[in-house]
């Protein structure tokens, strides 16, 4: 972190609050559409504009989405929960109160776990997840750069007002920028997999703030924290936290006190800057919203919302890494591409060869998916077909070269790889006797390479193997070919 080693004296303590827009057809409390990018002020009605006399009615799906998300992280879903009003004035908040949840959120506790790049496993406790409504969007004018500072007026679009939002609050369990990003990635993966949110930071459907403080390693007291805002990608979350930790360390090393404040991340400058010199003491005057009935969940109702925990992204990643021996990156790639992990599991169930299956799914299959714009699960290469192929390769019944071309054919045209290999005689040739003539021909045709090899240029061998493979139309077992070549080259 910095050159004099002071970084190691300190430990960062980080908590993350994120707001995640839920994916629903309609808004939290009215039937207006919940979509991004519509013409300004077209998806609004008396309810989400806070018109006199309008009343909110909660969206059942939004409640269920939040509960699903909570259950995925092992949160407790209390039998009784309620909506409260959070009272404060802001021009993009139509009612000048936000319907939120104060002391009885829908989900409490829970744990988010993740892998770090070095292979260690981290976890961060959740404090709570609660449901609320989003605000409208302000565009600031007159400041030249669209920022609020220095602006002379603002223009408001209320399309986003009332969009269902879940706020996930973490405990301050995170110790590094990398961990913060890993935490967010687990959240994102989980929400996407559950279908509760698109989690598109660029569209604002996930927004997060980080509370950062540092302390001397070994201390248990918390240092003075700052709240970092305006981070618009996971990468900027990482950079902002790094930068803020470094800033705080520099201050403490210089004997300067850290001020509790809100700081904005400046992406271009790569630094945080103070947004509010003085923390205003808010008095939100929370009270139970008399327009809304409390929410009760009977254990039976929860059962229907509790999905198969084995298919949750982090659970899968852990299984792929810990039981199947895949790399963390491979495991994450399998989980992050929509539908791929299910497909992969299906293939492995037939092959019992996770690593080989992963190589195909993440290699050839993902290349073809990109090329053809057809997701693997929708290609003509069913999991059964890929399993056949993997089994053929693993039994060395075909070469990987043949496997590739067969895979490509089946991807486009369908069919059984095994049948194709059999009917077209594409089986691997591994009988040394059958390959002897081929090897002889290759050696004869490439005398220069033979000389090079004998003169100590080891790379010439790979060239000769390649030539032999080519001559066999890919069917020759490359390891057998290589053995034969070595044998013959070693002979005087």
């Amino acid at each position: 972190m910095n050159a004099d080693g002071s970084a190691s004296k300190y430990e960062a303590v980080i908590g993350i609050e994120c707001h995640v827009e839920l994916r629903t057809a309609s808004k939290m409390f009215c039937g207006c559409r919940n979509v991004f990018g519509a013409e300004p002020n077209t998806n609004v009605c008396p309810v989400c504009l806070g018109m006199p006399g309008a009343l909110p009615v909660p969206n059942r799906r939004a409640i269920e989405h939040l509960v699903r998300a909570g259950l995925a992280f092992g949160c407790a879903i209390p039998a009784f929960s309620k909506f409260d009003r959070k009272n404060y004035f802001y021009p993009d908040m139509p009612k000048d109160y936000q319907i939120s949840q104060y002391d009885m959120p829908l989900a409490q506790g829970g744990v988010v776990s993740y892998f770090l790049a070095d292979g260690t496993k981290g976890m961060c406790r959740l404090t709570r997840i609660h449901l609320e409504e989003d605000t409208g969007k302000s565009t600031h004018g007159g400041s030249g750069d669209g920022r609020i500072a220095g602006s002379s007026y603002s223009l408001i679009d209320f399309n986003r007002a009332g969009v269902p939002l879940m706020e996930c609050v973490s405990e301050p369990d995170i110790r590094s920028a990398e961990e913060a990003v890993a935490y967010l990635e687990t959240l994102k993966r989980t929400f996407v997999a559950l279908g509760v949110s698109d989690v598109k930071m660029e569209e604002g459907s996930l927004r997060c703030d980080a509370n950062v403080s540092i302390r001397l390693r070994g201390n248990t007291e918390l240092g003075t924290k700052t709240e970092i805002k305006n981070m618009n990608s996971f990468r900027s979350v990482g950079r902002a936290i790094e930068s803020e930790i470094a800033r705080q360390i520099a201050l403490l090393e210089a004997g300067t006190r850290i001020v509790q404040e809100t700081r904005g991340w400046d992406e271009a400058g790569g630094v945080t800057h103070s947004m509010r010199s003085k923390e205003q003491a808010h008095d939100y005057r929370y009270f139970p919203d008399p327009d809304l009935a409390p929410i009760e969940f009977a254990p039976a109702a929860l059962g229907g919302l509790r999905g198969d925990s084995e298919v949750l992204p982090q659970r899968r990643i852990e299984r792929y890494v810990e039981a199947d021996g895949l790399s963390i990156v491979q495991a994450q790639q399998l989980v992050d591409a929509p539908g791929v992990a299910d497909y992969f599991d299906d293939v492995v169930a037939r092959t019992h060869k996770p690593q080989a299956s992963a190589n195909f799914v993440l290699g050839e299959c993902s290349r073809l998916a990109n090329e053809t714009q057809v997701p693997v699960a929708h290609s003509k290469l069913g999991a059964g077909a890929l399993a056949e192929l993997v089994t053929l390769v693993e039994a060395r019944a075909i070469t990987s070269k043949v496997a590739k071309s067969v895979l490509e054919r089946v991807w486009r045209d369908g069919g059984s790889p095994k049948a194709i290999v059999e009917s077209e005689g594409l089986g691997a040739v591994s009988d040394p006797n059958a390959l002897a003539t081929l090897v002889t021909d290759v050696l004869a045709a490439h005398a220069k390479s033979v000389d090079d090899y004998r003169a100590g240029k080891g790379a010439a061998l790979q060239f000769l193997v390649g030539q032999a493979m080519k001559a066999s139309r890919g069917k020759a077992d490359p390891s057998v070919v290589e053995g034969l070549l070595r044998e013959r080259l070693a002979a005087p």
Binding site: T24, E39, Y88, H140, Y153, I156, D157, R276, I295
Partner: protein, 98 residues
């Protein structure tokens, strides 16, 4: 609750109400008088009583996630004290507002 003082200026700030000095004095006196009456509630044995937020308890009153028509934009902006194009316009926002 025995205090019947009320910091009218602070409360008015929270409620976004500009008050003149005369109003501060008038409302201050009137509301302190009301708080004296309200203080009678201290006599009630409320320690073990459940608070009533809604007198007729209902639970899980929710709607299906379906779309209903929004208002035409012309109607949305018709009542706006100030609109600019397709937006509502407001004077500058001082950051502390949030």
């Amino acid at each position: 609750m025995s205090s019947t003082n009320i910091d009218i200026r602070h409360v008015a700030k929270l409620a976004r109400l500009a008050l003149s000095d005369d109003e501060v004095a008038l409302y201050g006196a009137q509301l302190e008088n009301l708080l004296v009456h309200v203080a009678e509630l201290e006599k009630l044995p409320t320690a073990d009583v459940v608070a009533t937020a809604q007198v007729i308890p209902s639970r899980n009153v929710e709607r299906d996630d379906v779309n209903t028509p929004s208002l035409p934009r012309a109607l949305v902006l018709a009542g706006a004290p100030q609109a600019e194009g397709v937006y509502f316009r407001v004077p500058r926002i001082i950051a502390e507002e949030g």
